[in-house]
């Protein structure tokens, strides 16, 4: 009885999604990013490629953490020898660092524009180019109309775009498929070992179109993402810190 109810609900959800114009990807197109439980937050349990993701990085530290997680995702997208474009007006990304996320730095093309306005223009042009693995743009802010232009560009070409936003003062609604926020967490090491251990992040999905927002912890161990089961105490600590 329970099972049939669940399946009915799932069927209904699928129908609603298709009525909303959300095409469910064919079985062959599904790609795992190695994000495990996080991917289940997206509709149909598939990381949406061919869409725009929005990542919030107000501080430099968060920018570094975001760059790390993003590199891990882009690695999966670039698996077939694709090219990634990185557009920014004030770039601090250190190319050799991409190597630790299994990206060959020479496969990434950096585009440095003089004005903030040109970043979005360049991104829109890049998103129209079919076959690119990913387009990353660092912007201060993006308006609803601008995000819609990017979304329209992406719908034909199926390129995945990432917007790294630094200015959170005007955090309005956008057409982006998901809004991410990544913060550092202290790395965990077995007792007594020196060093800092693998990077560990708190990955929050603040908004997901047709999906379920949530929060997860991940570690990057030079091969891929490793989901970390959240110990209860740490959650509380984390919450109190956020409140405080």
């Amino acid at each position: 009885m329970q099972a049939s109810k669940a399946s009915i609900i799932q069927q209904l959800q699928q129908k609603i999604l298709s009525w909303q114009g959300f095409a469910s990807p064919a079985a062959a197109e599904t790609k795992r990013m190695g994000l495990g439980p996080l991917e289940d937050a997206f509709p149909n349990g598939v990381f949406p490629t061919g869409a725009i993701h929005e990542m919030l990085c107000p501080t430099r530290e968060q920018g570094a953490a975001t760059a790390g997680l993003l590199s891990g995702i882009v690695t999966a997208l670039m698996k077939n020898g694709g090219v990634c474009l990185w557009i920014s007006a004030d770039r601090r990304l250190y190319p050799p660092a991409l190597l630790s996320f299994n990206i060959l730095p020479e496969q990434v093309i950096f585009i440095d524009v003089a004005r903030e306005k040109d970043v979005l223009w360049a991104m829109e042009e890049a998103l129209k180019c079919e076959g690119l693995a990913a387009v990353v743009a660092e912007v201060r802010e993006v308006s609803f109309a601008q995000s819609r232009r990017l979304q329209l560009a992406v719908e034909d070409s199926k390129v995945t775009g990432f917007l790294l936003r630094t200015d959170l003062k005007k955090l309005t609604t956008t057409t982006c498929v998901a809004r991410w926020q990544i913060t550092h967490l202290p790395g965990a090491l077995p007792d007594g070992l020196p060093g800092v251990g693998f990077p560990r992040w708190q990955v929050e999905l603040l908004r997901v179109r047709n999906g379920n927002p949530g929060s997860w912890i991940f570690e990057w161990n030079n091969k891929g993402f490793v989901p970390v089961e959240e110990p209860l105490a740490e959650t509380e600590q984390h919450l109190t810190r956020q409140v405080g």
Binding site: R92, P105, I111, C129, G187
Partner: protein
Amino acid sequence: MQKRYCAIWFRYLLTDWLAIRKPELKDVPFVLAASEKNRIIIKAANQLAEKQGIIPGSTAADAKAVIPDLKVFDFIPGKAEKLLAAIGEWCIRYTPLIAVDAPDGLLLDISGCTHLWGGEKGYLQEILKRLKGKGYYVRGAIADTIGAAWAIARFGKEKAIIEPGGQTEALLKLPPAALRLDTAAVDRLHKLGFYTVQQFIGIKRSALRRRFGEQLLLRIDEALGTAAEHLQWIHPLHPYQERLPCLEPIQTATGIEIAIRNLLETLCNRLKSEGKGLRVAILRCYRVDGKLVGADIATGRPSCSVDHLFKLFALKIASIEPALGIELFTLEAPKVEDLMIDQEILWTPEGCGLESPQLAELLDKLANKIGAKNIQRYLPVESYWPERAYKPSLSLSETTTGKWRAGRPRPSLLLKKPERIEVTSLLPDNPPMLFIYKGEKHIIRKAEDAERIEPEWWLTQSPHRDYYLVEDEQGRRYWVFRSGHYDDADSQWYIHGFFA
């Protein structure tokens, strides 16, 4: 029609060319020399050097004994032919038929051209004046045959223009070398006492053939006009240029778009048929008010695709001001390269690589707005110093043999310039205990051991850096370093990067 030929002789072709490029050489003797069989042989000498007895073929050491401050430059093989071809192309204005007469002359078929310059005298004067004006020492002659014109240009003493049918008479007083014979034949003629053409031209042909071979007879016949001589004419490259005159002045953007598309279609058709692609295109619009406006584009790899090139121009149409109207459009492709033929792909792979045409087209579009130098890839450089571990590359195809250093982790974000921080550390070799950056205190919880990086001593003398990867109580990771030794007077702590 009566054939007329003009021969032009550049006596000091290579030295004149060098003196034009380096005006300070005008009044000093100098030679061009090349190494040959372990000796440095003079290949060309300028007029001043030749006056002092230095002739091509002698050694540079001997010449330096004559003129101690003689300047010796490298002789470039093949330069003379290239130079003559270029001058020949320039001479196309005087006649369509021009041949290079290596190593030091040009031959022009001027039949039916001279009346445009008021006769042969004016014609020859005009050519010689223009070439002399450029700085070349030239002599020229006009005659019925190539051989006669060649001989008079080099050996003639009386007049430069031989009237039709007068070549036999004009040749009589010239030395045998004027007949374009090889040195062996000339030497033999001199040995037998023949110092002018007159002395042997009357001898029976069979006797001449027996002693000097067929070549002498052929050369005599060619000079006199009884044997035909054929030359290989220069075919100048037609410039990649298209014109589009308009009946009515064009004032609208749509009009300009149509004009550009038309021009591109004709130009690209031609490029395609020749297997070429353009790298640079310049559009010029001639306005009714006499002003010239235009736009130019550049591509990253040769292209002859109308759609792609039009897209590049489309970005610039807004900057073309038609004012009262444009009456003539010209499109020129000054830089053209062989087209790379793309192999048809049966199964399109997922994702396009660096060599895909779509990517090249996208980058062209971006480069034409934000500048090609702002689009970079990074290639590895063998250096531990973080700022020098990579080098920018503007080309999509460039690769290096170097490898990225996979060792200690590197920060995701690197500051362009390290910033100063206040640090407390327990022991000299320990990582810092806390540091203050931009007024915020970071208490270090975990840290990696130091990584000492020395700069390359042949590049800079700056002190070494001891890098520490540190993690503060919130898990944020930083790359900090101390420059110099702990107890140095000027040792300082800096923050250099942020880890993921």
